[in-house]
């Protein structure tokens, strides 16, 4: 299965969610600033990178995890993605599109704008880190819900592989 976490810029909330999914961040405590800054793509993409679907890694069940920044076009993106799957005869069960924007708070918006749009990273990044930590448990909860939702599919695949 392919799972795409998408948000406005593909730099903070979606990267955090994807990293949680891949087990790169703790779920029993808040991550440190260093742990967040070490994540691939965290607070790095800029405007011209929006629209690129970036591969993050494979989870323990071989699901491919991606992140995408699609500005404010979440509905258009989801309509387009599900529609294109249908047009090309691909099963929509093999793809999950997870919108992380509902968990983005004002600190992430202000920090993200300062760091990625205005390129004042020394000011923007600490604000973003505070925002990510503020939303962290909500993002953990979202990722756990996603994992539960796809679990039935995973167990079927795991059984098939063992056989």
């Amino acid at each position: 299965m392919n799972i795409i976490y998408h948000c406005y810029g593909g730099a903070h909330s979606s990267v955090t969610a994807a990293s949680l999914h891949l087990g790169w961040l703790p779920t029993d405590r808040l991550p440190t600033d260093q742990e967040l800054k070490a994540l691939p793509y965290f607070d790095r993409p800029i405007g011209k990178d929006h629209g690129n679907i970036r591969f993050m890694g494979k989870d323990e069940f071989n699901n491919e995890i991606y992140v995408l920044g699609r500005r404010n076009e979440s509905k258009v993106f989801e309509n387009m993605a599900t529609g294109l799957l249908e047009v090309f005869g691909v099963s929509s069960n093999d793809y999950q599109f997870i919108n992380v924007m509902p968990y983005v708070n004002w600190k992430m918006v202000v920090g993200g704008f300062s760091s990625r749009k205005l390129l004042i990273t020394p000011i923007g990044r600490p604000i973003i880190l505070a925002g990510v930590k503020y939303a962290y448990w909500q993002i953990v909860s979202l990722v756990q819900s996603v994992k539960i939702c796809i679990a039935s599919n995973n167990s079927i695949r795991a059984t098939t592989v063992e056989e």
Partner: protein
């Protein structure tokens, strides 16, 4: 092959381009009347923008679709390409032609009015933009080597 024409809604400028390619629009005589008769013209709920719309099959058996990509046209064109690449479709199996550059001022006004649910007024604005859009769409199609009838 599948050919996708992209514009803001997928039911205006891109449908004109698809109509030209399929031979539904021939010349400028009675243009507005012809365009209004094309299946799907202005038949869009703004919540459904992004969903591919099947227009028909061309003489080379290519399936023709339109897709609405809203206002971030270059970014969303990239998203379309990325999704298709992720699905694993080869470049020879699809073509994407973005005609968003040809969207006229009247269509932009029409969209703003449509957001206010003033559909009749919006339709008038969309219809006013047809001629100017046709003039802008033709060079884009020629540049993309898309045949028109």
């Amino acid at each position: 092959m599948k050919i996708f024409f992209l514009c803001r809604t997928g039911h205006h400028t891109s449908l004109l381009a698809a109509g030209l390619h399929l031979g539904l629009i021939k010349g400028s005589k009675g243009l507005r009347h012809v365009v209004l008769g094309i299946r799907g013209w202005n038949d869009i709920n703004l919540k459904d923008v992004g969903t591919p719309f099947y227009v028909g099959m061309d003489k080379d058996n290519n399936e023709i679709y339109t897709i609405g990509i809203a206002s971030n046209s270059f970014m969303m064109e990239r998203v379309v390409n990325e999704i298709i690449k992720l699905i694993g479709i080869e470049a020879e199996e699809r073509r994407i032609i973005n005609v968003s550059e040809a969207v006229s001022g009247w269509t932009r006004i029409g969209l703003a009015i449509k957001k206010m649910h003033l559909n009749s007024l919006a339709k008038m604005a969309f219809n006013r933009g047809i001629e100017s859009e046709l003039k802008k769409v033709q060079p884009i199609l020629r540049k993309s080597n898309i045949t028109t009838c």
